[in-house]
Amino acid sequence: MKVADIVQTLEGKLLSGEQLLDTEISSACGADLMSDVMAFVKEHVVLLTGLVNLQAIRTAEMMDIQVIVFVRGKTPTKDMIEEATSNGMAIITTKYSMFLACGRLYEAGIRTGGMRESC
């Protein structure tokens, strides 16, 4: 699924990263705790989160995640958008909750998520 399709599926708004609209995304991670994101080992990932602070951007940067969706209608701050823009990342906001946003993306075709080797 392309980033443009994610924006459409989530009826979202793209706040940065227009150059990534044609980029393919194959898996998703929904989390508000950033260490859980860092225990996640996939490529071509979209991160869905309700955490609105600079650490969400930095965590994505550490993990080479290029696309972040802020759920529940949360709006990132100017600082966050600036940091994302300087890293070439796409920021999307959506009115949907985490559950509904993940559900919509799953239904639209993103079926891969991280799974721990053991629990």
């Binding site: 705790l33 989160t49 930095r58």
Partner: protein
């Protein structure tokens, strides 16, 4: 190549900035992206720990021909039970840390998972030293 950072403990918006800069520096050196990611994640978790638990500290990074060494040192309260702290899900972080997206008890396990060698020296009341080694050779561990 050596890099040195002072990590302030009173401004959470700066937490992780040193690791971000290290990741960029490693990228400029043309190091394998998978190795950079492991070094960046390990250092980032350790840097966040230092801010959450110890009121900041110092971070030193040394890039050697065969490895990346990351050392973080703080004057914080120390880790009373290191064995417990290494377990996934065990956390002593304050509620405020969770509001900021951390404190899930995954920090130290994530550091261990991404390091080739991890050494933690900690004494209650006098602080903690974390030494992380990431080998530059690809396939050095099964985590690469």
């Amino acid at each position: 190549m050596k890099l040195h950072y002072e990590v302030p403990g009173d401004d959470f918006s700066l937490a992780g900035k040193a690791s971000t800069e290290v990741k960029k520096a490693l990228g400029r050196l043309g190091i394998d992206p998978g190795i950079i990611k492991r070094a960046a994640v390990a250092m980032y978790e350790a840097e966040i720990n230092m801010v959450i638990h110890a009121g900041g500290g110092v971070a030193d990074v040394e890039i050697l021909p065969d490895s990346i060494l990351v050392k973080l040192e703080d004057q914080g309260p120390g880790i009373p039970d290191l064995e417990m702290a290494m377990q996934e899900g065990y956390s002593t972080a304050p509620e405020q840390a969770r509001e900021l997206g951390f404190g899930a008890g995954m920090g130290l396990p994530n550091i261990k998972r991404n390091s080739d060698d991890l050494h933690i020296e900690s004494a209650v009341g006098s602080g903690t030293k974390v030494s992380i080694t990431i080998k530059l050779q690809q396939g050095a561990t099964d985590q690469a």
